[in-house]
Symmetry: C2
Subunit: 203 residues, 2 copies
């Protein structure tokens, strides 16, 4: 059974409501992203799989990135917080990004729990690893813009800062090393922010 | 069948050679560390499980930490490189630690492959996670000494620097984000070292 056969089923019978359509699109997107990868999976293809108009998908999810974020369980609000932190002046960017990161990973469970699940599952299947790799490269590293004159290292700097912060969460939330897990957020941010500042803005 | 029954078997028949004894001790240690955790598993208990003298274990593995490192597949040479990098003057400690980290994770496969396997498996079973947590807390964070006047944050600083570097390896080696994976080691060290310096020595 191919993806379109699988996800078109809800169209039979009564006309689907908005929630049902949303689920249908997400199911189609999940299969399409997993099969083709982020770059090749187009809204047009996903729309065809789901049996809806591409314009309806844009209306429901705003963009391909936001749709993928939802499929990968990174909530749009988490993405917005992260992108916002990278914007703006160089001064205190380390603190803004570090605080946003803790807010996303330790605040609203709607944002943090899917991220923890993703981190936990990131290396268990080649497919999940590939999806995460493509998402980070295509979405985070290309679209999160450092407002700095770019010497060619801006994308790398965003990647390093993000992966270092993920490493802290790995030790604190997943492995739960006592020294990291028992320290309060403000102390951690105070120690980490200058290092992130150094990575992002060279000090 | 309990641990001692399982690992005493090689004693029957001919007297075991050194390699065989080593394997017997490692098997006993693996079971004992997994069952009791790092802190409670003593050399004496492991010796009893393996049916050998405690002094023979010390002769073969030097210390309980080195034995656990071998069980956890962190090679003694990797541990020595890491501990060495933290020693010495505050100036350039960030570069020493960052370089040592890359040397351990990307140099000799005998050091790096078991670490990658450990990182991959770290969150798959509660037992492996618990072992890793205890190892990091009891061995790395307590014994890797920062030669700095300690304001009470030294252990936390070592933990943060280590977890940030693990995060970089997570993105580079496991998820293989192209931006991180395709950058050469020297460029990465040049960007990361000042951040690690900031974490360890406050800049």
């Amino acid at each position: 059974m191919d993806a379109s056969a699988q996800v078109e089923r809800p169209r039979r019978g009564r006309r689907p409501g908005p929630t049902e359509t949303r689920h249908t699109v997400l199911a189609a997107a999940r299969i399409r992203f997993a099969r083709d990868g982020y770059a090749s999976a187009t809204i047009r293809k996903i729309a065809a799989d789901a049996g809806v108009d591409a314009s309806l998908i844009m209306q429901l999810f705003q963009s391909k990135e936001a749709l993928f974020a939802e499929v990968m369980s990174i909530t749009p609000s988490a993405l917005a917080l992260f992108a916002e932190a990278f914007r703006g002046p160089r001064v205190r960017i380390g603190e803004r990004v570090t605080r946003a990161f803790f807010e996303i990973w330790e605040g609203d469970p709607l944002n943090s729990e899917p991220l923890l699940a993703m981190l936990r599952g990131a290396t268990t299947t080649e497919q999940a690893t590939r999806q995460l790799r493509e998402f980070i490269e295509a979405r985070l590293l290309t679209e999160v813009r450092l407002e700095l004159p770019d010497d060619g290292t801006a994308q790398l700097r965003v990647g390093l800062a993000s992966s270092m912060l993920v490493g802290v969460m790995f030790g604190r939330r997943l492995v739960q090393v006592p020294t990291l897990a028992q320290t309060n957020t403000d102390t951690l941010v105070a120690l980490i922010a200058p290092a992130v500042q150094t990575i992002l803005a060279g000090g």
